[in-house]
Amino acid sequence: MTTAPLDYAPPPPRSPRGIPLLVWPILVLALLLIFNFFFTPGFFHLTVRDGRVYGSLIDILRRGAPVMLLSLGMALVIATGGIDLSVGAVMAITGTIAAALIVRPDDSPLAFINVTHSLTLIILLSLAAAAIAGLWNGLLVALLDIQPIVATLILMVAGRGIARFPTSGQIVTFEHPGFEFLGTGGFLGLPFPVTIVVVVAILTGLLTRGTALGLFVESVGNNPKAARLAGVSSSRVKILVYVFCGFCAGVAGLISTADIKAADFNNLGLYLELDAILAVSLGGTSLSGGRFSIVGALIGAVLIQTLTTTILARGVPEPLTLVIKGMVVVLVCLLQSEKFRSRCKRLFKRGNS
């Protein structure tokens, strides 16, 4: 066919290459920042103390780190057409295991493990537990063919109970400068959690785009039947992403535990699975699976945290905060909807003529 390319139609929510467009979440994030520039005094103010940078912007990144980590793993799980509701509970499990390994309470079932001397072993063992939790989810979904929302609901509910065992139901507090560094330390002037996010994000990028895993994940999520006939093993792919999602939740759990210096199995990571799903969705990854965007998920997570910080900084009455959060989320979702945008355009045109 020799038809010359003609002028392009209005941009679809995805580019012709099928990659999620990040214009809208970035736009809303920019609007939020501009709003703060004018109405929240000192929002962009940065100070340097003891070689560390402080300020609202830095605070957003530091507080947003756990959700950013969760959204990395969640993005892959959602891209396979699944979902992981258990990440909050996995955070709690990882956190209490780490605390139990540090403190070694006498009545702890983990008391026989003596690794207090080695920070590396404490971290590795805790993360291994998180990965095993992910493996459990993966096996339920991939081998037993249980719907992901049900399969991960099991660990979401049971996980908070499991999280009590390592410390025998005690909210153990600890002092461990090395471990605390994970949550409160600094690196290159930035909070250490930010460094961890950067490292895990790069790791995710390498894992998915440096190998063929990203292609397989998107194939399985977009058309499982065709992927199977093309030779992709969906069960291996799924198990792998659930394990990775568990790992990310584990890292988030370690950061949060180090931050509060306690093993709070009741509240650690509570409801964060919802923020992570929201972040992935705001980042343009469809909940029905297929194309995913890691950068999008991170932007989504930053957007959520910026919103929370803005609301807190404005001193909005407590009951209103969640309502405002909800409204901004609706706005981003509307902007991402092509139908809504074309309606707006039509209204605008009618107004002009």
């Binding site: 066919m1 038809t3 390319p5 003609l6 002028d7 392009y8 139609a9 995805r14 012709p16 290459r17 099928g18 440096g210 190998t211 063929a212 895993l213 292609l215 397989f216 998107e218 194939s219 977009n222 058309n223 039947k225 065709a226 992927a227 199977r228 006939l229 093309a230 030779g231 992709v232 093993s233 291996r236 792919v237 297929g290 194309r291």
Partner: protein, 510 residues
């Protein structure tokens, strides 16, 4: 425009990014006519249908239905104007009853807004009776054959109890999954509706059917109108020539492959392979440099046989040898590792990964065989994509476009490229030419012959007997999920294949 013109479209134009899909197309449908819409894939048939039925907004032109200008924005709009559509894939809810499907969203209600079930069943029976079909309307749709489901969809489309009765019925490839008997009863229904004054737009790839039932033919090519003809006065070859835009002799001049007895060694040997409810035990040997055909009626077990050879389904018994090694295939992955490729008959559901690019779709099987850790580099992927886009004449602006934006024939070529890239020893092609245009069919046939000459073993499945006979060195014939015969060399002819299919039928055909 004559008095009996029911639907008139003038200068319909539709643009997509980078493509002018419809370029000022005129189309006129007469009352009480069956009008074929013909063209290669990418000619603009589906686009024209979608514009007329409100799925796509048009960028230019006008449409007049029954003297009233129309501009439907949604299929519901179109239906309210009197244009109803039945698509290739039946759009019914399988678990609901026939009556519920017919009256979904417009059930007769009592004053308490509860459904009048008895009245609904009666209306449903009447609606089906109008098409001369008597079935239990309380049974779920899924308990009926695809043909009956198709009729139910038509009954819903033309139901007289609609606020606006249908004036135009669009049938988009309604016959592609029906057997000869079912097609005949569908045609009966179409003639009946035609007699009632409906205009029917009929999209199909089967030339026989066009000549059997239609009154007029409109031919499109590359988004432009080629012309409108009276069916009776347009010879077949001329029609094909107009569709593909070249001299008809180019097709008739195509010679069948030399039917030399195969000298290649056996690539795959199946003996006693079987699967309950799918296929009776069969023996089959496929040699290098040989095209073996599978012939048989729809549902005779052709696809089921092929799926066993590819490991897509697990056999209940029997043995399989590949390159003289006994193997057990449990997953397609295992078959691919042993250099077998399989192009499914259902391109949309089992072939393409719609949101991924042409490049990604193309390298998928090669990458799956290499494993996720050994990623095929971006540059190598691009080189492969460019190579096959050129070699197979895939019409696209670049390799990074989503595959779903391509026409059916071009999607099929990408899927063929996916397998050829894995350099298979055996390539199984299940209906590789279904639903694609004459030109692409021709190109794919040439490609298959080329692959065969290069020493590949090919298993070719097609509903079009003429195609099987023309392409294959050897043909295995199936009836009622059993391999009932094999023809080779000079024995391969349409008459012989049909005679074998007919055989001594245990039950007389309806």
């Amino acid at each position: 425009m004559t008095d009996s013109a029911l639907l008139t479209a003038r200068g319909i134009t539709k643009r997509f990014p980078g493509v002018l899909a419809l370029d000022g197309v005129d189309f006129t449908l007469q009352r009480g006519h069956i009008h074929a819409l013909m063209g290669e894939n990418g000619a603009g048939k589906s686009t024209l249908i979608k514009v007329l039925t409100g799925l796509y907004p048009r960028d230019g032109g006008e449409a007049v239905l029954d003297g009233r200008p129309i501009n439907p924005r949604t299929p519901l709009d179109a239906q309210a104007e009197g244009i109803s559509t039945v698509y290739q894939e039946v759009n019914l809810i399988p678990e609901l009853s026939v009556a519920e499907n017919l009256y979904l969203g417009r059930q007769p209600r009592t004053f308490l807004r509860t459904v009048r079930w008895r009245q609904m069943s009666r209306l449903a029976r009447e609606a089906m009776a109008r098409l001369d079909i008597a079935i239990d309307v309380k049974r779920p749709v899924s308990s009926y054959s695809v043909a009956i489901q198709q009729m139910i969809a038509i009954a819903r489309a033309v139901d007289v109890n609609r606020a606006v009765p249908a004036k135009v019925l669009v049938l988009d490839e309604p016959t592609s999954s029906l057997d000869a008997h079912e097609v005949a009863s569908l045609f009966g229904v179409m003639r009946k509706l035609k007699g009632e004054g409906l205009g029917i737009i009929f999209v199909t790839h089967f030339l026989d059917q066009v000549y059997q039932i239609t009154d007029r033919i409109t031919v499109l090519r590359n988004g432009k109108l080629v012309g409108e003809y009276e069916t009776a006065s347009l010879p077949r070859l001329e029609l094909i020539g107009k569709m593909i835009g070249r001299d008809a002799s180019a097709i008739t001049g195509h010679h069948p492959p030399a039917r030399a007895a195969s000298t290649g060694k056996a690539f795959l040997e199946a003996s006693g392979l079987r699967r309950r409810g799918a296929i009776e035990p069969f023996d089959l040997t496929l040699c290098q440099g040989e095209i073996v055909g599978l012939a048989g009626l729809l549902g005779s077990g052709r696809t089921e046989l092929a799926r066993l050879l590819f490991g897509a389904d697990k056999p209940d018994g029997g043995s399989l040898r590949i390159n003289e090694q006994p193997v057990k295939l449990r997953q397609p992955r295992g078959a691919i590792a042993r250099h077998i490729g399989f192009c499914s008959e259902d391109r949309k559901a089992e072939g393409i990964i719609p949101d991924l690019s042409i490049r990604e779709n193309l390298v998928l099987s090669l990458q799956a065989r290499a494993g996720w850790l050994r990623r095929i580099g971006r540059r190598r992927q691009q080189a492969l994509a460019d190579q096959y886009i050129k070699a197979l004449n895939i019409k696209t602006s670049d390799a990074d476009k989503s595959i779903k934006l391509l026409s059916g024939g071009n999607q099929q070529k990408v899927l063929l490229a996916r397998w050829i890239a894995t350099e298979p020893g055996l390539l199984i092609l299940d209906e590789p030419t279904r639903g694609i245009d004459v030109g692409a069919k021709f190109e794919i046939a040439r490609l298959i012959e080329q692959l065969c000459q290069d020493g590949m073993s090919l298993l070719f499945i097609s509903s079009e007997l003429e195609e099987v006979v023309r392409m294959c060195h050897r043909v295995a014939i199936l009836r009622d999920r059993k391999v009932v015969g094999e023809l080779a060399g000079d024995q391969v002819s349409e008459e012989n294949v049909m005679a074998t299919i007919a055989g001594q039928p245990e039950t007389p055909h309806p």
